[in-house]
Symmetry: C2
Subunit: 476 residues, 2 copies
């Protein structure tokens, strides 16, 4: 890497003085006031030179021009719900946070086009609150409440990707301010579903964590709210059975299969131990794993039909020994069983989290191999899995029991992680399914990405951000 | 542009001699044998120095290395079903066609992952023929039969985009040979639904018409075949009513609304006049426009339910004066009414075709404005529209009656087209919805694309193809 890029921002003070003149009063924070903006949901923490809170695209553009002149470095930031440190400043105290938190207008809403143009700081929940009276929503479903700009930067997937796709699939357009020295504004917000009038430039900025340009607004393809729904919980002998059951559910329910989440029995049991208020929907069952299945449609009045068909399917799967037991339930009661595991384990020791994606057909073999490997190499540790079986997304937690964390220093932890990611790669998977790339997994990006791809990514970053002014992750 | 890029390929003969040594016998065509490879479905025609027919990625890579050494220029080509000349050589006789026609293996098929890795020359129809016994398909629906690599290059949309999305939405991965001098192979074919382990490089090559790299294989996200279906044909007073009816169909059928195609009455009448074998499904109706509506689901056994609900909805729309008449019918009978217009008009005069995309909410206003403009400026010409109302895609044909074509020379035609595209832009639309950019519309790309976007696209092309070795369209 060019040594100049590593040097601290030369004109930081001059930049901050100019930024203060560009921003509204109270929109440039220093010192203690920066504290809330220095960490993300993973706990990754840095030290900001300042926090800039522009309230318009024009101001973002002016800030990027000033940053280029003074060689200042900016880290774009949304709601800090990220999990790889991609939106927090480094520890140098020389990077400024460019928070989009004050850009939260819903600029356009076109119900007949089912589209909305929202500024990057508008949160997912607030967008959906405004859309609800019109029977529409942006159907990204995650445990946290990211800024909509953060959805773009992370290409958020979530639990209902099987039916609704990731952020990319729900995007019609973007507005991006470029780090080209001029702060050029790329207005690609036209809410068009068919538009192939040149290279689709917006794709570059989706999932690249704010490293190639500052996303200031997005044009979303909205969907109708679900009007029919069914949620059920099933006990299965093992993950091979879960794979066959998933296929059967797709054959019977087609595009209405909305989620097919699978967690290992140890994961469910650990959750129930930690949170006695949660009830086991199938108390007394002895299963290898459990599936939370959701079927939903925007077509109203299907509830009875869905239930009738699900009962028939469950009976047939039970007869084949693929499902041991099952119960219908309310979504609000069943999802917490799936969502509470990270918290439950955090109370039981030191959890090491993995967010990996595989061809779903290879999930059973991968999970067995991972369990075998951990038992052989780290017999005192336990593996918990819970994830988006239906789309191949898999969250793993390796738990270091209390008192053992001291024996696992940074080097040993890095080796453990690397070995597990190697198993993922051996099974055709990727080391970051939903969380993107940031300081927390940058080393694995370098290890598990083919050289041609790394070279091209670095070239793109040099093209779009020649002064290395933006973001946390350098692809070079 | 660098003058060197415009100079004819210096070492063309040396390149072809080396290419002959790299290719299997019979896989390098010269002279007359090139004829079938020199035109696309639009009739755009060029002159090839040769046609190269590699049968493996390794050979494509070797050809790109040789092309870089000899500064030869290649135009990647699939089934020549494109409509903007993007895959045919120019008239210089100095460009070689790089046809993917002999790379047509289905490399991998994973039914439990619902994915397939197909080489770029495998046609859409052949892929779907192989998938059908497994109850799966790639649900891109177009009148022609493109190579699957062509689907990628054009980001094909088609008539069922409303439900299934475009090629991009159905892609999990790509294999691309880069024009980086080394013929580096970017293997991004892992069939992962969740993969955010860095910049999603494959997105660059989707919809860029082979200009940034040679797509040699694609990894597709397959869907289950439809198991329930309903097709109906409706007469409506005008396009404003069509927009309200579209909204009502979405409210009642949600994600099962598969197509909502609208054609003006003149388009239907011209089709029926030309093809007497086609029968008017609503003979005697006097309507402003007609809608072909398809509702479908991969969930079996819904036919009766869909029909019952459609009848109720049609009755209520009829009561509100939004639908004048309607009939259910077989898909095989109704779709030809929609698909035969271009052929019908070609027999009636000289058709000028437009493929534009708008926010669907603005289609009625745009179409009225276009009609008013044509009547005022070119009273002897007629406008016909037929298109993908549900996704905002709109095919327009301006018909020059027989005998008038002589009065419309190239300059006058270009002005007419430009004025119509300006109306599209004024209504928030784009000048190429599905057909991409090629020699036939390159001038409109320069006119209707904002300078910042053109600059970035040109930079990307320089980064990925520094020697201007690939494709027909230069973004610079």
């Amino acid at each position: 890497m060019d040594a100049a890029l590593l040097a601290p921002a030369a004109g930081l003070d001059a930049f901050l003085a100019e930024a203060a003149s560009l921003l509204p009063p109270g929109a440039l924070l220093r010192g203690e006031d920066c504290a809330p903006y220095q960490a993300d949901a993973s706990g990754c923490r840095g030290q900001a030179a300042a926090v800039l809170l522009p309230d318009s695209t024009e101001t973002v553009s002016a800030l990027l021009r000033a940053a280029a002149r003074h060689r200042a470095r900016l880290v774009p930031q949304g709601n800090r719900s990220g999990l790889v440190g991609g939106a927090v400043p480094d520890g140098s105290g020389r990077q400024a946070v460019l928070s989009l938190a004050r850009m939260r207008r819903l600029r356009e809403f076109d119900p007949l086009n089912r589209s909305a143009v929202a500024e990057a700081g508008l949160s997912l929940s607030e967008l959906n609150r405004q859309l609800e009276p019109h029977g529409l929503w942006l159907p990204i479903d995650v445990g946290s409440d990211p800024a909509t700009g953060g959805l773009v930067g992370a290409n958020t997937g979530g639990s209902r990707l099987l039916r609704h796709g990731d952020a990319r699939r729900n995007l019609l357009g973007l507005e991006v301010v470029l780090a080209d020295g001029q702060g050029s504004v790329l207005d690609l917000t036209a809410p068009l579903r068919k538009n192939n009038a040149g290279i689709d430039l917006k794709q570059l900025f989706i999932g690249s964590g704010g490293a190639l340009g500052v996303v200031t607004a997005a044009s979303w393809d909205l969907k109708r709210l679900d009007a029919s729904q069914l949620t059920l919980f099933a006990a299965l002998p093992d993950r091979e059975a879960a794979l066959v059951a998933l296929d059967a559910f797709e054959q019977h329910f087609g595009e209405t299969l909305s989620a097919f989440e699978v967690m290992g029995a140890p994961a469910l049991n650990a959750t129930l131990r930690q949170f006695p208020a949660l009830r086991h929907p199938l108390a007394g069952s002895v299963a290898g794993c459990y599936a939370l299945v959701e079927i939903a449609s925007a077509m109203p009045g299907l509830d009875a039909l869905l239930q009738e068909r699900a009962e028939a399917l469950l009976a047939s799967l039970h007869e084949r020994g693929l499902i041991l037991d099952a119960a219908f339930g309310q979504a609000e009661r069943l999802w917490p069983l799936r969502d509470s595991l990270p918290l439950a384990l955090a109370a039981a020791g030191t959890p090491l989290s993995f967010d990996v994606g595989l061809p779903r057909s290879r999930l059973p073999a991968f999970l067995s191999a991972a369990e075998r490997w951990l038992t052989a190499e780290h017999p005192a540790l336990r593996l918990y899995d819970f994830g988006h079986f239906g789309d191949g997304g898999c969250h793993l937690i390796v738990l270091l029991p209390r008192g053992m964390a001291a024996g696992y220093g940074p080097a040993k932890l890095a080796m453990l992680k690397s070995a597990l990611y190697q198993l993922v790669a051996d099974h055709g998977g990727g080391f970051s399914a939903e969380h993107g790339v940031g300081p927390l997994n940058a080393a694995f990006y370098r290890k598990f990405t083919c050289p041609a791809a790394q070279g091209l990514a670095a070239g793109l970053q040099r093209l779009l951000d020649p002064a290395a002014a933006l973001g946390r992750h350098r692809y070079g």
